[in-house]
Each structure stands twice: as structure tokens, then as C-alpha cells.
């Protein structure tokens, strides 16, 4: 009799424990799902301007200063258009911004720095991928000549800039990773099985991917990272498609592909199509490149986190002018992340254009901040 009683008690305790654990788990799951949805809603809303620091009189303290911006490549429309928008914004604020035209060759970046030294520029901006570690002697020569050297839109907030530069205007790639992971979580109701496609040689890739991983772990106990594919940029055309196809066939439960840089989509979309997974696997990505927003309009990519190039340009210039005026610099680049999906992709134009669809509150916002209005 005692035995039966003990067995019954043990069973009851076990059942209660199981129910409690399940309740706890489902509670955690619901909480994670709510957190994911909340972040997504925040980034679906049209961007609003919030000042990156106190207002200052740019005309009086930065006027006459000269900035040389060296984009990672003038053939890359993303960095090229940021450079052009910086020149335009600089004209408004009285700062002379010059772009050093190049085609992603470190030897050309070296020429740009030597040009800045010879011409007596006040600040050199290494924009959107110029890695200071490959041109250290030239940076040292520039800083030795009294020129401030800063990187922009290159490091993640969590990364320490190379010791050779005077400062950086970092971007939270980690946060973009969080947005992408939360998108997959919320769209699958907490059942995302993702394949991440990255390029490890790009400096901010590691914190970017970490943002995805941490978020999946924190907000989604039932989600999993099925595979990580590392495809170096020069091999995107030959490596991404077969690797993604293999991952899809080897793991039939994959429902999200996250190519972390959206130009990868060109090779991910055919991989989904050839693997016969159209409609079963969705693509979420980052950059807001026009052709990828076109792919959203065509229903081949589900979402793209974009940044306004005009906003990036003004955010970078704001940081540089504060440096030149001896003011405290903002901790990160002032630019909001905005989600494009089928509901708003047409706002970017048909075909999509750079810098369309984000609104223009940043233009008057920065003008007011700089004392121009």
C-alpha cells in the first residue's frame, strides 16, 4: 500500500513539475515572441529624427575646414552616394568635403592619404570599408601631419577601432542582426530554422552574426541556426548558390535564409528556386540596395533592413564637424534602421532607388542641429 502511495506521489510530483516546466518554457517563448514583435514594429515605423548630441553652430566653428572622404570604392553605389551626399551637406554647413575617387585598391587609398597630406586637409574620412589596418604607415604620416583620421560606417559598436586612427563613427551591426533574427522569430511564431550566410573577412561580420545568434537564443527557445555559410566576397558568384542549395536539401526544415549583406540575395534567390523551395523558405537581409527592394516587389525576397544614405552622410558629417569643433562625438552613427517588406517596398520607387522611402525628416533635423535654420 505504502509503495503504491509513494509511486502515485512521485508520478504526481513529476506531472506537476513537467507542467510547470512547460508553462515556464511557453511563458519564456511568449515573452521572447513579444520582444521580437516589439522590435520589428519599432523598425517598421517611418524613421523620426532624434539629435545625436547638443546643437552647435557649425558655420562658426567648422566653416573653412576641409574633409577628404575616401570611400571603399567609388564604383560601389552605396559608398559613392554617401560621399556625394556628404559633399552636398558639407556645402550647406560651410565645410569643404572632397571625395577621393578609387576602385577599392589599397594603393589608391594610399594615394588619397598622400593627397590629403600634400593639400593640408583637416580630416580624412575612411568610409564604408576602408580598413585602416592595411594602410597604417600612411595613416601615421597623416596624423603626424596634424590631420585627424576617422573611419565611418565600418566598425560595430562593440569593436575597438584600429589604434592608428583617431576615432570612428561606428554602426550597430549587432542591432541589425537582432532585427533580422527577430523578424524570422516573429514571422514563424517562434519556430525559425535559419541558415545564415556571411563573409567573415568583412570586419563587422562577426558582431553582426553574433547579434543574430544571441537573439535567437534569447527570444526563441524553439528556433535554431541550422547552418552558417561563409562566402568571401570575391567568391559570392561561385560559392553562395551551391552552398545554399546543399544546406536546403540537407536540412528540409529550414524556413529562413539570412544573407547578412543583401547583394548576396542575387545568388540566394536562384538557390531557393533551383532547390524547389520557393514559398517554403523566406529571405531576410540588410542594406536596402535598390535591386533587392525590387526583389521584394517581385515577391522573391521577404524583407530588407535599409538605411537612408542621405541620413548616413549627414550623421557622419555631424560626427566629423563635432570633432573639428572640439565637441564630444556621438557614440554611434545617427541613422535609423528601417524595414522594407511587401507593404512598403513600392515607396522606394519602381524600380527602387537609393535613399527613397525613408522620408526626409533628417534634412531639416540636421540643419536645425547645426544652426542653419
Amino acid at each position: 500500500m505504502k509503495r503504491v502511495y509513494a509511486k502515485t506521489t512521485a508520478a504526481a510530483v513529476g506531472a506537476v513539475a513537467a507542467v510547470a516546466v512547460t508553462a515556464l518554457l511557453s511563458g519564456a517563448q511568449a515573452q521572447g515572441l513579444d520582444a521580437a514583435r516589439q522590435m520589428i514594429e519599432e523598425h517598421r515605423a517611418k524613421p523620426v529624427f532624434s539629435a545625436p548630441g547638443p546643437a552647435f553652430d557649425a558655420k562658426s566653428c567648422a566653416a573653412g575646414k576641409r574633409v577628404l572622404t575616401i570611400p571603399v570604392s567609388s564604383a560601389n553605389p552605396f559608398t559613392k552616394n554617401i560621399a556625394l551626399a556628404m559633399i552636398e551637406a558639407g556645402n550647406e554647413a560651410g565645410v569643404e568635403v572632397t571625395e577621393w575617387e578609387n576602385q577599392a585598391q589599397p594603393s589608391q587609398w594610399v594615394q588619397g592619404i598622400n593627397f590629403a597630406i600634400n593639400e593640408g586637409f583637416d580630416l580624412i574620412d575612411l568610409l564604408g570599408g576602408v580598413d585602416p589596418s592595411v594602410i597604417v604607415p600612411q595613416i601615421q604620416a597623416a596624423t603626424g601631419a596634424g590631420i585627424v583620421v576617422k573611419t565611418s560606417h565600418f566598425y560595430d559598436l562593440t569593436q575597438t577601432p584600429h589604434e592608428s586612427v583617431d576615432g570612428a563613427v561606428p554602426l550597430s551591426f549587432y542591432k541589425v542582426g537582432q532585427i533580422l533574427a527577430n523578424w524570422a522569430i516573429s514571422q514563424t511564431d517562434g519556430k525559425a530554422n535559419v541558415v545564415i550566410i556571411g563573409s567573415d573577412e568583412i570586419v563587422p561580420t562577426a558582431p553582426f552574426v553574433q547579434g543574430i545568434r544571441d537573439t535567437l537564443q534569447a527570444n526563441c527557445p524553439d528556433c535554431k541556426e541550422v547552418a552558417y555559410i561563409n562566402a568571401p566576397v570575391p567568391e559570392w558568384a561561385t560559392k553562395i548558390q551551391p552552398s545554399v542549395q546543399s544546406a536546403l536539401l540537407a536540412n528540409p526544415d529550414v524556413n529562413y535564409l539570412i544573407p547578412i549583406y543583401d547583394s548576396m540575395s542575387q545568388f540566394v534567390v536562384p538557390a531557393v528556386r533551383v532547390a524547389g523551395k520557393t514559398g517554403q523558405v523566406n529571405i531576410a537581409t540588410f542594406n536596402g540596395t535598390p535591386f533587392v527592394i525590387d526583389l521584394i516587389q517581385q515577391g522573391q525576397v521577404e524583407m530588407d533592413v535599409g538605411e537612408s544614405l542621405g541620413w548616413i552622410a549627414r550623421g557622419i558629417l555631424d560626427s566629423h564637424m563635432r570633432t573639428l569643433c572640439g565637441l564630444a562625438e556621438p557614440a554611434e552613427l545617427n541613422v535609423p534602421f528601417y524595414i522594407f517588406d511587401s507593404s512598403n517596398a513600392n515607396d522606394a520607387g519602381t524600380p527602387a532607388d537609393y535613399d527613397r522611402g525613408y522620408g526626409d525628416v533628417h534634412v531639416s533635423g540636421f540643419r536645425t542641429l547645426w544652426g542653419l535654420e
Binding site: 564604383a75 560601389n76 553605389p77 559613392k80 547552418a227 555559410i229 561563409n230 562566402a231 570575391p234 567568391e235 559570392w236 558568384a237 561561385t238 560559392k239 548558390q241 551551391p242 552552398s243 542549395q245 546543399s246 544546406a247 536539401l249 540537407a250 547583394s263 542575387q266 545568388f267 534567390v269 536562384p270 538557390a271 528556386r273 533551383v274 532547390a275 524547389g276 540596395t289 535598390p290 535591386f291 533587392v292 525590387d294 526583389l295 517581385q298 522573391q300 524600380p351
Partner: protein, 332 residues
Amino acid sequence: MAEGTEVSAKEKGVDWLLVLEKYALILAWIALIVVFAFVAPSSFLQWPTFSSIIFGSQAVLVVLTLGLIIPLTAGDFDVSVAAVLTFSAMILAVLNAKMGLPLWQAVLACLAMGLIVGFLNAFFIIFFRIHSLIVTLGTASVIQGLILWISSSQTLSGVSPGLIDWVIVNRLFDIPLAFYYAMALGVIIWYVFEFTPIGRRLLFVGRGREVARLSGISVVRVRGVALVASSVIATLAGIINVGTTGGADPLSGLTFLLPAFAAAFLGATSIVPGRFNPLGSIIAVFFLVTGITGLNFLGVDTFVQNMFNGAALILAVSLSQLVRGRKEQGLT
């Protein structure tokens, strides 16, 4: 003396080492499939693995390689093929997706571009007697500039869905049609190489220009035809590339150059050892992609793919050289 040698070869019977060399790549391919089938039976040993990955996704590389082996056989290097491929893809995307021209007109424009580039290559190589490597390197660079110019350095998407349907969406035995286009081209080139006078002349010209000229072969014409053919076939590869990706970008197509050369050289160790041959090239592409796919299924890091490609090429060519008694070989 020659007669005597022939008789002694006949007396010896079949040279099994040479037969083995001929089919070694096929055997290695089968061995690779067997190994992966054992290691990852549930994922690798499925028809979709072969239909969509191994056969279905390499048409661009196969077509480009097939084009490349034509001037290689005639003794010329054409390193502009990948640039022509990318240019063709971009012209198609600009004309069709951006300017709204019908697909057939855009395709004709691509083919015309291929013809022009081929003629220009041939003109500078043959008339000025400049090494093909130098001329095609220059042409490739000019074309890359033109690509950046006409594309404004942007990736373009939105080509007619009809092209995508007829390249990768429509299938036969679950294999995208692009595979059959590549195979058809392979059969045509194989027929031309093996059974037509121009095929034989290509080989003679490649083996010894002076001897070919003294034998009455129009070396100029043969080399010219080969260079034009490789450019035109590269434009076809570009069209298939657009049909595969649905768009075009200014840079990524250029990365097909080295894999195409690797497949051509690897293919030259098989089927007709010592000669660039279409069947060997096709098998080489599938051998390499099988290895990479298997490694993908095993979850091996992607850098291993590069090592596999390079090691396979060096090993195959080295073994082939051993079989031939390590005779000195020219590049072509």
C-alpha cells in the same frame, strides 16, 4: 622504324595504364559519389542533390569552359571570356530589365557584342602578332570598364520571367533546362572536334603553327574562328547566368574565369588525355562540384572547397604526367 614501333605496340596489346588514365577522372568521380553516399546517405544520396545541385546549377561554368577550350586547342589563351560573360549579362539586363526591350532583341545584342569582341581579339592577336594572353587581358579590362559604365556600378534585376523559366524553372527529369543546353553545346563541340575538318585543323594549329601553315592550313582563319567562337559562347554563358540569377551585377561573373581554366585543364587529363576535350571538361566540372557538394553536406568549412579544387587539379595533372613518363608539356 615507325612501322616497327607500331607492330611492337600491337604485340603488347592494350596499354592498360593509358586506358586507366583515360577514365581515371570518371572513376574518381564515381568513387567520390560512393564515399559521400556512405558518409551522408540520407542527404547526399537523393535525386534532388544530383538534379538541382550537381547537374542543375553549373551550366554557366560548363558553357564557359566549353567556349574556352576552343582557342586553347588552337594554342591561344582567351582570358576575356569571363568579362564577356559579365558584359553579356549586363547588356541583357540593361536592355531588357531597364529599357524594356524584348528579350530576343536583347539576346541578339549580346551575341553581336560577342562577335565584335571576338573579332577585335583576333585582329589584335593575329594582325599585330601579339600574344593572346596580353590582348585578351587588355580586352577584359576594357570590357570591365564598359560594364561599370553601362550599369552605373549597380546590380540590376527584373529581367523577363520567360528567360528564367527557360533556364532554371522548367525542368526535365527534375533537372533545369540549362543543364541540357550545356550538354547540347558539349555534344556539338565534341562532334566538331572529332569529326569535322575544322576540328582537326584546330588541333594541328595548336600543336604546331608553322607545320600547320606549311601543310596548307589557313592558320589565321582557324585562330580567328576559335577566338570568335569562344567570345560568342561566353555571351551564351552570360545569358544563362542572367536566366539563373534573374539579374546581373558588374563584378561577380568575373570570378568564373579561374574555375573555367581549372576545369579545362583538369578535363584535358581525361577521355582524350593530353588534349582539351569537351567531355573531359564537362566531367571535370561535375567532379569538382560533386566534391564540393559532398563537403557542404558534411558541414565542412567553405575554405576547404578552394583547397579541394586546387588539390584535385594539381593531383590529376600530376598523375597524368606520371602516366606519360613526365614528358615536358606546353601550356596548350
